[in-house]
């Protein structure tokens, strides 16, 4: 086995197109194209195979590895109207304020309109409870906006509709929007880009890293912090150096909030926040430190100890967010005032006053006292260049692009590239895409599509049109993968057994039927008959949807289903629900 690896390595070094040799079974040219379109992208649109064939597969892959050089006007036009994508966090806090928080601030400034004040008062008098996440409260530990409004608190059956109407009216009149809209638009942008972007690999990598560096939209302020996370943290660095991406996430308000580092302070720092001296000091919070090593870099068996977790947490004290929950951005903006002008709400800053400036030892490396913000940067540097990180990232990438059980020899080669190129993500991917393992029949159509991949690939293969709106996203959520909806930091699983379950499978079939019969609001598909003969219609669609990769048994079962009732809709719905279409 070792010998074989060595041979492959030599082979790799001398040539890039190495789809020969070894014992693996080769794919046909057409299969290779389909395979690349499925794995480096979200499925085969009508005409894609021919386009790639004309361009040459290797050229196509290299093009995909350099997305900045690909023109992408169609996708850009599709997302043009999603205004949250271009807004700063401060603007989001101004324009998409949380109603309860806004009302309280207006009241404090004597600006709460009388009718709204009355509706608010009656809401509680009438025995109604506030909608989740809208309740004013006095608890000093958490702002009201720190509550979770998505999956954590089910809607209150007693919410007063009159109060809600008043809020809606007030928002309309003042050009404000409800905060739920932020995540809805962000989800739409992800769907639209995955469907329409020519930079398919870029979108796959955005999906991969967003999941690797998971942030849950339902945690407190994170919904306001996610647009910048996608735009400024993940997207620009999805194919850069891993260390660059890692540092961007470490400084991202979304991650700092999600894993609590924004409130991690040295216990010795005393009353460090002169603005809020009454705030109870919470001391060191180890969450980010732990997940940084376990999930973002080294992996759970990557060789760190609890002591390392504590030391890393000390290094990151003071990496925080200015006005993490937006301060009074909305109320101030309505009064025509800036905040205090010093910094924008919801942005990263290093608070030296709460930093633990003593000496630390991290994974055997000494981090000298007095380093300030450099401490955290040194930690990131140590972690990004640790061999366990190379192995861990290589394993996850190979699992994603090749197979649930990553071939160890390939993982070793990919990790070697990662190390040799200082964590260059493009070079690392190249090693995968031009490997025998990736281009083997063993890897062909073996990965179960995750719900996001299933929905996007169905829309793409059928050449359907979508606005990416809630109608589409709700199906992704129903099948178990709401975007930005994974609560814990490990992100969605990338292996089949997590997705092959009774409820999920049933929803996959229902999704296929809904799409084929145009029952998804905001998405339309135009199924042409392609032929007058039913079995030919079926075979044409098997070609469109699966490049003809269907088992004889499934084809036979499908054939028996052909009847006179709207055959195209039925046959397409059924094909989308076959075991074959669940794989890529």
């Amino acid at each position: 086995m070792k010998k074989l690896t060595a041979i492959i390595l030599i082979f790799l070094a001398t040539s890039q197109s190495i789809i020969s040799g070894a014992k693996v079974k080769k794919l046909t040219e057409e299969q290779r194209i389909v395979h690349v379109l499925n794995r480096l992208g979200f499925g085969v649109r009508p005409g894609d195979v021919e386009r790639v064939k004309a361009l040459g597969l290797e050229n196509y892959i290299n093009q995909q590895l350099n997305p900045e050089k690909i023109s992408d006007t169609v996708a850009e036009n599709k997302i043009r109207d999603l205004s949250v994508l271009n807004m700063t966090t401060a603007e989001l806090y101004e324009k998409y304020p949380q109603p309860g928080q806004l009302l309280r601030q207006l009241q404090a400034r004597g600006m709460l309109p009388a009718d709204l004040a009355e509706a608010r008062e009656n809401r509680v008098k009438g025995g109604a409870n506030a909608a989740p996440g809208e309740m004013p409260k006095n608890d000093s530990m958490n702002g009201p906006e720190s509550k979770n409004t998505q999956t954590v608190t089910p809607a209150n059956p007693l919410e007063d509709p009159k109060y809600r109407q008043m809020i809606e009216k007030y928002y309309r009149e003042n050009g404000l929007q409800r905060p739920q809209r932020i995540v809805a638009e962000l989800q739409a942008s992800r769907i639209l880009r995955a469907v329409y972007s020519e930079r398919q690999l870029q979108e796959v990598m955005v999906d991969f890293w967003t999941n690797h560096f998971n942030v849950f939209a339902g945690k407190g302020a994170d919904r306001w912090l996610l647009p910048t996370y996608d735009r400024d943290t993940i997207r620009p660095f999805a194919m850069s150096k891993f260390s660059t991406l890692l540092e961007a996430t470490a400084k991202s308000p979304a991650m700092l909030f999600y894993l609590d580092n924004f409130q991690s302070v040295s216990p010795d720092s005393g009353r460090a926040n002169p603005l809020r001296p009454q705030q109870q000091r919470r001391g060191i919070n180890e969450n980010y430190a732990r997940e940084l090593m376990e999930l973002h870099t080294l992996g759970v068996d990557g060789g760190y100890t609890q002591k390392d977790v504590q030391e890393v947490a000390r290094c990151f004290t003071g990496w925080t967010i200015f006005q993490p929950r937006g301060g009074a951005a909305a109320a101030n903006a309505m009064m025509g005032r800036d905040g205090n002008g010093r910094r924008d709400p919801g942005t990263f800053f290093f608070n030296a006053r709460v930093h633990d400036d003593g000496e630390k030892i991290v994974l055997g490396h000494k981090i000298p006292a007095g380093g300030g913000m450099k401490d955290g940067q040194m930690v990131l540097d140590i972690l990004a260049h640790h061999p366990s990180t190379a192995k861990f990232i290589a394993t996850k990438l190979v699992r994603h692009f090749v197979a649930d059980n990553p071939p160890p020899a390939l993982v070793d080669r990919v990790a070697a590239t990662f190390t040799k190129t200082d964590g260059d993500i493009r070079e690392t991917l190249k090693t995968i895409f031009f490997s025998n393992e990736f281009n083997s029949t063993d890897a062909y159509r073996v990965k179960i599509k995750r719900p996001f991949e299933l929905v996007i690939s169905a829309i793409r293969t059928l050449g359907a049109d979508t606005n990416g709106g809630p109608g589409t996203h709700q199906w992704i959520a129903r099948m178990g993968e709401p975007l930005y909806g994974f609560q814990t930091p490990n992100g969605y699983s990338d292996t089949a057994e997590s997705w092959v379950n009774t409820g999920g499978l049933l929803e996959r079939m229902n999704f296929g039927l809904a799409l084929a019969s145009n029952r998804i609001p905001g998405t339309s598909v135009n199924l042409s008959k392609l032929s007058n003969e039913q079995s030919k219609v079926m075979d044409e669609y098997l070609k469109v949807l699966l490049a003809g990769d269907i088992s004889p048994a499934t084809r036979e079962a499908l054939l028996k289903q052909l009847d006179k009732s709207d055959p195209v809709t039925k046959v397409v719905g059924l094909i989308l629900g076959t075991p074959e279409f669940q794989r890529q």
Binding site: G127, P136, N148, T153, T502, P579
Partner: protein, 419 residues
């Protein structure tokens, strides 16, 4: 690894015990399992009160004078036979909120136990974190990937491999049931089918034909079992359900969830863990006292559970209902006649096998010097001891310790509500 994913159905030899071959394979396994163990399957119904219920107004310590001094406008009056708005006396010290009268008969017949001053030892007052900790059952550790009920499922092999072993009546799989062991999440039983209007039946037939093949493919096997389950549920006909014993479920989502759990239990599909939740407990403002928003919610909550109890009747011999909430609320009322995020809370445990009619757990008192961090009810029972007792003594887990990593679970800390 998910065992179910690799095992194929139909491997149990059923002919020998003369099972009907038309029954779905998983049901035959369930029936066979029951026949072999000679017992009925035990079921736990776990109910989460999301948003942190005010346990001190739900199970009122009317014997504490400080209770009345720190809650001038929201306290529940001491039991008074002539006052329907006073607390319902339980044991001379504790009383139920008057809107929970549906629980009184259960208390009187000793089928309702209360564990007061219980909850998570972590001092977080964030809903998110506290719910996370209660569902993962690893307070303070966020990186736990699975929920404790899922770990229970993982740790106790289910020879029957029921498709309905664990069901959450919820839109998405709750944290408590997330993990490697299979579980179902659905908002309603009626939705658990192919939904394509008039063509549903025709299309389901199509999918069944596609997935009927016995090939070496776990996905196909899963599809086949899925339709077994779908078809069995259709036979049960969830739309036509009639509760028994005159039970009347409240006509709200919570009542509907409980009703469907009862349906599943009666259908004999092998339900072992059911989960649902009810929100709206975050009463920071105008909480109300004997009337008001908390009273209304408690009424829905208790009447729903009491209806479930009545409906299941004798089946409650094998069922336990457990309620929980992420943390309690401040002992003192705040400036808005409400309460803020606190610490310890109260849990209900119900069932015919429960040694009820008793408030379990050491009562820490409400004196100002007895409060946790000077403001909240002090915790005296770790919620894992309550979960652990149910997993061990009711569900029959042989290895409850491993359900609670990082905690030294010991039967000596069990409260004894299961004997």
């Amino acid at each position: 690894m998910n065992r179910r994913f690799f095992l194929k159905s139909g491997t149990v030899a059923l002919a020998s015990i003369g099972m009907s071959l038309s029954a779905p394979a998983f049901l035959e396994r369930v029936a066979l399992g029951n026949a072999l163990t000679g017992g009925k399957r035990k079921t736990l119904i776990a109910i989460f009160q999301r948003g942190a219920v005010d346990g001190l107004n739900m199970v009122v310590p009317f014997g504490e004078s400080n209770y009345y001094s720190v809650r001038p406008s929201i306290a529940i009056p001491k039991p008074d036979a002539g006052n329907a708005e006073s607390a319902i006396n339980l044991d001379g010290f504790f009383g139920l909120h008057p809107s929970m009268s549906a629980f009184k008969p259960l208390w009187d017949s000793k089928r309702l136990a209360i564990v007061h001053a219980s909850g998570s030892p972590d001092n977080t007052r964030s809903h998110f974190d506290a719910q996370d900790y209660m569902e993962s059952a690893t307070p303070g550790v966020k990186s736990t990937h699975d929920g404790w009920l899922n770990r229970y499922l993982q740790n106790k092999e289910d020879a029957d491999r029921s498709l309905f072993r664990a069901v959450a009546l919820a839109k998405t799989m709750p944290r408590v049931l997330q993990g490697q062991a299979p579980a179902l999440a659905m908002t309603s039983l009626a939705e658990f089918t192919i939904r394509a209007g008039k063509s549903s039946e025709n299309l389901q037939g199509g999918f069944e034909a596609i997935y009927a093949r016995k090939v070496n493919d776990p996905l196909t096997d899963m599809g086949r079992e899925t339709f077994e389950a779908v078809n069995y549920l259709k036979q049960v006909n969830p739309g036509q359900y009639k509760p028994e014993n005159g039970a009347q479920y409240p006509g709200n989502p919570f009542g509907n969830s409980l009703l469907q759990i009862a349906q599943l239990i009666k259908a004999g599909v092998g339900l072992e863990i059911a989960f649902t939740d009810i929100g709206g407990w975050d009463t920071h403002t105008n909480q109300g006292n004997s009337r008001g928003q908390l009273a209304n919610l408690l009424q829905q909550f208790s009447s729903g559970i009491a209806a479930l109890y009545q409906d299941l009747g004798q089946r409650m011999d094998d069922v336990i209902v457990l309620t929980m909430s992420e943390f309690g609320r401040t002992v003192r009322e705040n400036g808005n006649r409400g309460t803020d995020h606190g610490h310890a809370n109260a849990m209900f445990v119900m069932g015919n096998s429960v040694r009820g009619g008793k408030v379990y757990g050491r009562w820490p008192g409400l004196g100002n010097d007895q409060l946790y961090e000077g403001r909240d009810l002090t915790l005296t029972t770790d919620f894992r001891d309550v979960f652990g007792e149910i997993a061990t003594c009711h569900l029959g887990s042989k290895d409850a310790k491993s359900i609670f990593p990082g905690y030294s679970l010991s039967a000596s800390n069990f409260k004894g509500f299961l004997g």
